[in-house]
């Protein structure tokens, strides 16, 4: 069809071209004939006369070509002028009519602006964070590769594993499903400056990583494979660090820097926009070589899939290579590979998708409203358009006119919407909690702009056509005859359907929002099982190699602990391997004495927390049975388990005195349960009951990851603790984190999402209310005459008001009923976000119904008052 169209356009163009040529030829021929005739009249013989005519015309061949060219030019220019003239006329006219209906224009543009702004803001975030988080070449084929336990992940936590160096090497050489496989690793190091140590984020990469990511060194060069194997200590600086710390020194190459205990020589600078493919990762300051010959260290893996390769086959290939490598090393292949786009691992993916759905609904409500407004306008302009048609404006011209108007309105709305969306996104980013670093990637990208443009174009054409169809449906005659005496029931029904749709969409939003609001309230009230307020973790960080061994480190911690206890405001101090916000695991089989042992092939990740005496006191975490360790010596083999696990394993029975162990070789000693600790949600509130084991075991100082400090008041601990640490050991810096803030961060995301969803819901609901108001107001205006007659015949004010309100409420109830039905099914998308609220939560549904009815009643106020104000005399007279 398209091809036929093109052919037709071409042949038209050709024919037109022929026409000019023919016309020019014809003109020349006529001229020569007439000239020759004139010359013959003057007495020349015919041959002579014709030759003279040609001579006077000028060199015939060239002048003919010149004239044809001039004619072509003329035609093209005139066509353009005509078209532009029409367009200018259309635009001028549209501006005039739009200006005449100022309030209509403003409401329509505002509605579109709000809808598109909400969509732009959220879709920008979805697009730039989830869909296009990496900007590497062929980004749509860039995937993250990691491994997960093939079975027996019993921790209740999503465990992902970095493949070992041997596996990555094998993947690099043997995985044909990929064009390239690159490993990378992150670590925080300390950079020695002239006076101090500075924390820097380092990334280790292979020789090809930069080109994989589409980056070239700003200065210098990247590592070569040979340099990595010969263990040369070389580093590239990131442009940012080079500028901030080294004054953008162009002669930096060859200088040496000290990171932790090693000295590296700088071989180049990598550009600032080179980032690791991990969404929300901190920017890298220093790039170091990744040595994949070291078989023990693992690394993260990013890869580029070959075009047309599907994920299942790619994964299968990775798994089979992994199985081979594991067999070579005499290990079990207990992990399976996962291939996922970088956006998959974004923690608040679900929340963002949810907001995406919400703004899609808001956009639909906005479009329904605009449809309304267009209908109302084409109704009120019916007469004007009929007059224009009667005066000779062609149908296509009238259509073009309407299209011009809707295009102008839609583009105004679109442009303002994108601008407002950009502002909105900035506001969202400014208000977003710091626990969502990936959100900082969000920006209005080309995908979003394209989508906004598409929405605008579709809107403008759809509504232009809609308006034209509605305006053109009636015959010119009919429309001219009378303005009020026509049936508008058909059109009224379309509008009612639109309003019911809007109400239904809003009802869905309201249900979702109220569920989330309740859920956040539950989160904030949740019983954590310990007291986060006034609790701090103190983590130490030292340049690598600072402590000769763990005992030295333990001695330092012990000394710091003793000093900390005497800081004013500090009531107690303890140490743990897994302070709040951290996890430590044992890998093995959990065996319970007297029960069938799990098969020796199975492996589990079992949470363990190596704690010191007084831990539960400092945490204010209760023991539901038994007591704390009586003997912290390793030889005593005592263990405390979590309540959820105990309840599941020994229902209605005391677990005290039972024995269990984490078996690896099968020769490990049994541990005796001496206590059962209340479940502590140290990572923030959790919705399901925890049944996975958590083993508290007594620990030596050296295995502690951090000190835990309980204070009487929320004191600023950082300064005194830093000073103390320095007093004990010059080379140590400490990080003090408030556990309370950590918990707040954990619920910051749902709070933030709820806030945004509530905003969007209010927006959607307001638009729906405007829609309802429009329909009722229109109905009242249409029925002015009827109302006037009824008042004249003695109808009371109550009756009139009831009529209007019942009309409005009926639409709202219809919409709400449909919307609540949709919500029952649609709340699936927020199920994963709910805490302590069921998907079928009746309170939320009731609340939504009430909110909707209240909104409908508010929307009824003005139309009702207008109906009551109808003066019977004017209404009947006025036609």
């Amino acid at each position: 069809m398209i091809r036929a169209g093109i052919r037709r356009a071409l042949s038209l163009a050709l024919r037109r071209r022929d026409r000019w040529e023919n016309e020019v030829e014809e003109e020349i021929k006529l001229h020569l004939t007439l000239r020759a005739a004139q010359l013959m009249d003057e007495g020349r013989n015919p041959d002579d006369a014709y030759a003279e005519a040609v001579r006077r015309f000028g060199a015939l061949t060239e002048s003919r070509a010149r004239l044809i060219e001039a004619a072509r030019h003329r035609e093209a220019r005139m066509q353009r002028t005509e078209y532009l003239g029409d367009l200018r006329q259309d635009i001028t006219f549209a501006l005039r009519t739009l200006r005449r209906d100022k309030s209509w224009t403003a409401v329509t543009i505002l509605t579109l602006t709000l809808g598109i702004a909400a969509a732009t803001a959220v879709f920008s975030a979805v697009s730039s964070v989830l869909l296009h988080p990496v900007t590497y070449p062929a980004a749509d084929r860039v995937v993250m590769v990691y491994q997960q336990p093939a079975k027996g992940n019993n921790t209740g936590i999503n465990v992902t594993i970095s493949p070992s160096a041997a596996v990555i090497r094998a993947w690099k050489t043997d995985a044909h499903a990929f064009e390239a496989v690159e490993g990378f690793a992150q670590s925080d190091l300390k950079l020695r400056t002239t006076t101090d140590w500075v924390d820097v984020h380092a990334a280790r990469i292979g020789p090809d990583f930069a080109s994989f990511a589409g980056a070239r060194p700003v200065i210098g060069r990247v590592f070569t494979a040979a340099e990595i194997t010969t263990n040369r200590r070389e580093a590239l600086l990131a442009e940012g660090l080079w500028r901030s710390r080294f004054g953008a020194d162009p002669g930096i190459v060859g200088r040496a820097i000290t990171l932790d205990d090693s000295t590296y020589s700088i071989i180049g600078i990598l550009p600032a926009d080179l980032r690791l493919p991990r969404v929300g990762a901190s920017t890298t300051d220093v790039w170091l070589p990744l040595d994949l010959r070291n078989d023990r260290a693992g690394a993260s893996v990013v890869a580029r899939v070959r075009p047309g390769m599907d994920a299942t086959r790619a994964t299968a290939e990775l798994d089979s290579i992994f199985a081979r490598v594991s067999a070579e090393h005499g290990e079990r292949a207990d992990f399976r590979a996962v291939v996922a786009p970088p956006g998959r691992q974004v923690s608040f993916r679900d929340s963002l998708m949810l907001l995406g759905y919400a703004v899609a609904l808001v956009l639909l409500v906005a479009c329904a409203n605009v449809a309304h407004l267009m209908l109302a306008r084409s109704d009120s302009r019916r007469r004007e358009l009929a007059i224009r048609t009667a005066l000779g404006a062609g149908r296509s011209r009238v259509f073009r006119q309407l299209l011009t108007e809707s295009v102008m309105v839609a583009f105004a709305g679109g442009a303002l919407g994108v601008f407002a969306g950009w502002l909105g996104l900035r506001a969202i980013l400014a208000a977003s909690p710091s626990s969502l670093p990936a959100l900082t990637l969000a920006h209005v990208d080309y995908t979003t702009l394209g989508a906004a443009l598409a929405v605008t174009i579709v809107t403008s054409i759809a509504f232009g056509v809609l308006g034209a169809i509605h305006a053109g449906r009636e015959s010119t005659n009919e429309a001219l005859k009378s303005s009020t005496q026509r049936s508008t029931t058909g059109r009224g029904r379309v509008r009612q359907v639109l309003v019911v749709t809007e109400m239904a969409l809003s009802a869905t939003l309201v249900v979702g929002a109220s569920m989330l609001v309740r859920s956040v309230a539950n989160l904030q009230r949740a019983n954590l099982g310990f007291e986060p307020s006034g609790l701090y973790t103190v983590r130490t960080s030292v340049p690598r190699g600072h402590f000769a061994n763990n005992a030295e480190r333990g001695a330092f911690l012990r000394a710091l602990e003793t000093r900390l206890a005497s800081v004013p405001g500090v009531t107690s101090v303890t140490m743990a391997s897994a302070p709040p916000g951290w996890w430590t695991f044992s890998v093995g089989r959990l065996e319970i004495e007297g029960r069938p042992a799990p098969p020796p092939t199975s492996t589990e990740f079992i949470r363990v927390n190596r704690i010191q005496h007084g831990y539960f006191g400092v945490m204010r975490q209760g023991l539901v049975a038994g007591r704390e360790f009586t003997d912290t010596a390793d030889a005593a083999h005592q263990v405390i388990v979590n309540a959820g696990f105990a309840k599941k394993q020994w229902p209605g029975e005391s677990p005290i005195g039972k024995r269990l162990r984490v078996a690896q070789q099968g020769t490990e000693p049994w541990l005796t349960i001496v206590g059962v600790a209340a479940e502590a949600a140290t990572g923030g509130p959790v919705s399901e009951e925890v049944t996975a084991p958590l083993l508290y075991t007594p620990a030596a100082d050296s295995s502690a990851a951090a000190l835990l400090v309980r204070t009487a008041r929320t004191a600023d601990l950082l300064q005194p603790v830093q000073a103390l640490a320095h007093a004990v050991d010059q080379g140590v810096t400490v990080k003090v984190l408030s556990v309370e803030t950590g918990i707040a961060d954990a619920i910051a995301e749902p709070r933030f999402v709820t806030l945004l969803l509530t905003l969007f819901t209010v927006l959607g609901l307001s638009l729906a209310a405007i829609g309802l108001y429009g329909v009722l107001g229109y109905a009242v205006a249409q029925r002015t005459r009827e109302i006037g007659i009824r008042v004249a015949l003695g109808a009371t004010r109550t009756r009139i008001a009831r009529g209007v309100i019942i009309g409005g409420v009926a639409l709202a109830v219809g919409g709400a009923a449909i919307g609540l039905a949709i919500a029952r099914w649609g709340t699936k998308v927020i199920e994963s976000q709910l805490f302590g609220v069921a998907r079928s939560d009746s309170a939320s549904f009731v609340a939504a119904a009430i909110v909707l009815l209240a909104t409908a009643l508010i929307a009824c106020i003005v139309p009702t008052r207008r109906a009551l104000a109808v003066d019977p005399m004017t209404a009947i007279r006025n036609d």
Binding site: E27, I28, F57, G58, S63, L67, R74, M78
Partner: protein, 118 residues
């Protein structure tokens, strides 16, 4: 008799002038110019058509196919409103310009700047 080469731009003006009374086809315009100029204008006939197309493109003329007295199809050119006002303005310019040039060229020596007592 010397034939005068046409000054640049004046042909357009002459064509507009020709058409200011009645629409004509190409040869009629040429003949009119020859008659009105008494045969003293040097002009290739094709140049006339160039001028006409140019004027049409600028919207100063409008073309339409018609039939001559001898029943032959011909393209008739008609001056537009824009063409008329262009003609008026340009004629005025031309007359002023020509007058000034004539004055200067024919002025008595004394009125030339720098030599008289002014």
């Amino acid at each position: 008799m010397t034939r005068l080469p046409l000054l640049k731009g004046t042909l357009d003006l002459l064509v507009l002038r020709a058409l200011s009374w009645t629409p004509m086809h190409g040869f009629e315009i040429v003949s009119w110019l020859e008659r009105a100029g008494g045969g003293s204008l040097e002009l290739e006939d094709s140049a006339l058509y160039q001028a006409v197309y140019r004027l049409e493109e600028r919207g100063l003329l409008q073309a339409e196919w018609g039939v001559t007295e001898n029943n032959r199809r011909a393209r008739y050119y008609k001056i537009t409103a824009a063409g008329r006002s262009h003609l008026r303005a340009e004629t005025k310019n031309w007359v002023e310009y020509a007058g000034t040039v004539t004055d200067i060229l024919t002025a008595a020596k004394s009125s030339l700047p720098g030599t008289g007592a002014s």
